[in-house]
Symmetry: C2
Subunit: 215 residues, 2 copies
Amino acid sequence: MEQNKIPQATAKRLPLYYRFLNNLQMQGKTRVSSKELSEAVKVDSATIRRDFSYFGALGKKGYGYNVEYLLGFFRKTLDQDELTDVALIGVGNLGTAFLNYNFTKNNNTKIVLAFDADPNKAGKEIGGVPVYHIDDLEEKLGNVKVAILTIPATEADRITERLVSKGIKGILNFTPARISVPDDVRVHHIDLAIELQALVYFLKHYPLDTKEEVL
Amino acid sequence: MEQNKIPQATAKRLPLYYRFLNNLQMQGKTRVSSKELSEAVKVDSATIRRDFSYFGALGKKGYGYNVEYLLGFFRKTLDQDELTDVALIGVGNLGTAFLNYNFTKNNNTKIVLAFDADPNKAGKEIGGVPVYHIDDLEEKLGNVKVAILTIPATEADRITERLVSKGIKGILNFTPARISVPDDVRVHHIDLAIELQALVYFLKHYPLDTKEEVL
DNA sequence: AATAAGTCGTGATATTTTTCACATATTCAC
DNA sequence: GTGAATATGTGAAAAATATCACGACTTATT
Ligand SMILES: NC(=O)c1ccc[n+]([C@@H]2O[C@H](COP(=O)([O-])OP(=O)(O)OC[C@H]3O[C@@H](n4cnc5c(N)ncnc54)[C@H](O)[C@@H]3O)[C@@H](O)[C@H]2O)c1
Ligand SMILES: NC(=O)c1ccc[n+]([C@@H]2O[C@H](COP(=O)([O-])OP(=O)(O)OC[C@H]3O[C@@H](n4cnc5c(N)ncnc54)[C@H](O)[C@@H]3O)[C@@H](O)[C@H]2O)c1
């Protein structure tokens, strides 16, 4: 699809740029330089210019970038005009937090339904999202292609298999399990315990005198 | 401190290895190869061997790695024997989920106290962790060096400043705000909305026929 | 109109990370 | 013991990412 020449590292930063540009526009700013952007999002200004340059010459020398133009460009690039439906599996501590938080501020994704194995949770609605019993997964999932996994790790493999066979193509996996999927399914692991441990490890073992911010 | 020759990419994977080795030991396995590890944690086996090699020759050719030895080694390396205290700021949706989840399974970090601006939350205890009013931050924080930030983005800068002046050295920031800190403070951003958007972007724009798993 | 200040886009370079591929060592089966 | 199988550790190469530094162009100022 189109140019898949865009480096992954760049692609991961696009939503960040987009969000900040939105803020700028709301503040009524009409122009912005890579230097200003850099200070706000904490990414080197050369990296920002390089990132933008993959999409062509979006700025003007000596001027910077026009906020509205850039925003419009990224809106298209990030498909901000089409809403992507997401399913959430596991309405426990984390899952409930995600349901209550509305990802649809500034955002093109929306959790449209949730599943849980607990019969007490099925039938309810949390944050405006209906919760179904996991037994009804195949029946209710419909054409949703993205799932958030917030179930116990022990359930991850079994549920993943069911999700994949129903056509899910992207999984945001919060369980510590490293799930196996076919090659055409993308899994993004967010392992909170590990993030915390890694932070502590860095604190103890790395001097850190220079500014190095870690994602 | 010791060898800070260990690449950051490697350091981030250490807790993952550690957790899996723990599982292996609990299953009674005594040896493991980089190939087996690779399948379990979804990291290329050459990368695993390279990672381990930064710490010396931990394995044996033709045999693999001794689980107990490796685990003991990483336990020391990751300071699993000392518990690091953590403060949580913002007992809302996310914060409450973290308090209820006990990070101290297999883990060397523990949330020991929490703060919130809501007077109804202060004074309570959630998941065994006392919640104080944010006004008492300076008084109660003590010698804690790591904080988890789960407050509204608008509060992030102000609270960060207070944390830093009280001596916090590591922040796990869940707010969308990109906070500014002195060079000796490490910030790790976990931006859930962006993770979700990035996943959707990859799904739509990247072919993905080969196995590429993204962290 | 000329000058100064600001800023992009990018070739070149540096750094970081991953992967290949193989000499070398060990184990295991018989 | 011997040979086949297994698996490490690592030099070298590749790939990915980040940064430097500067020519080219814009805007603002006097
Ligand atoms: N909460 C945290 O702070 C935190 C931190 C790090 C990792 N995690 C991980 O995130 C995951 C969820 O954590 P949590 O604290 O929300 O757990 P939780 O126990 O509160 O919630 C899990 C939910 O999944 C449901 N469930 C169980 N089996 C199911 C199945 N087969 N199908 C559908 N639903 C099922 C349960 O009924 C429960 O509601 C876990 O894997 C956990 O390790 C959580
Ligand atoms: N919940 C999610 O799923 C989710 C997803 C992505 C990002 N986030 C981000 O995480 C952060 C927290 O999200 P949430 O859903 O838990 O929000 P929330 O509103 O449920 O919780 C925020 C809590 O912080 C407290 N608070 C406000 N100001 C404070 C202050 N100055 N000092 C101390 N406490 C204060 C509030 O009383 C509240 O309890 C937000 O920045 C949000 O953007 C949350």
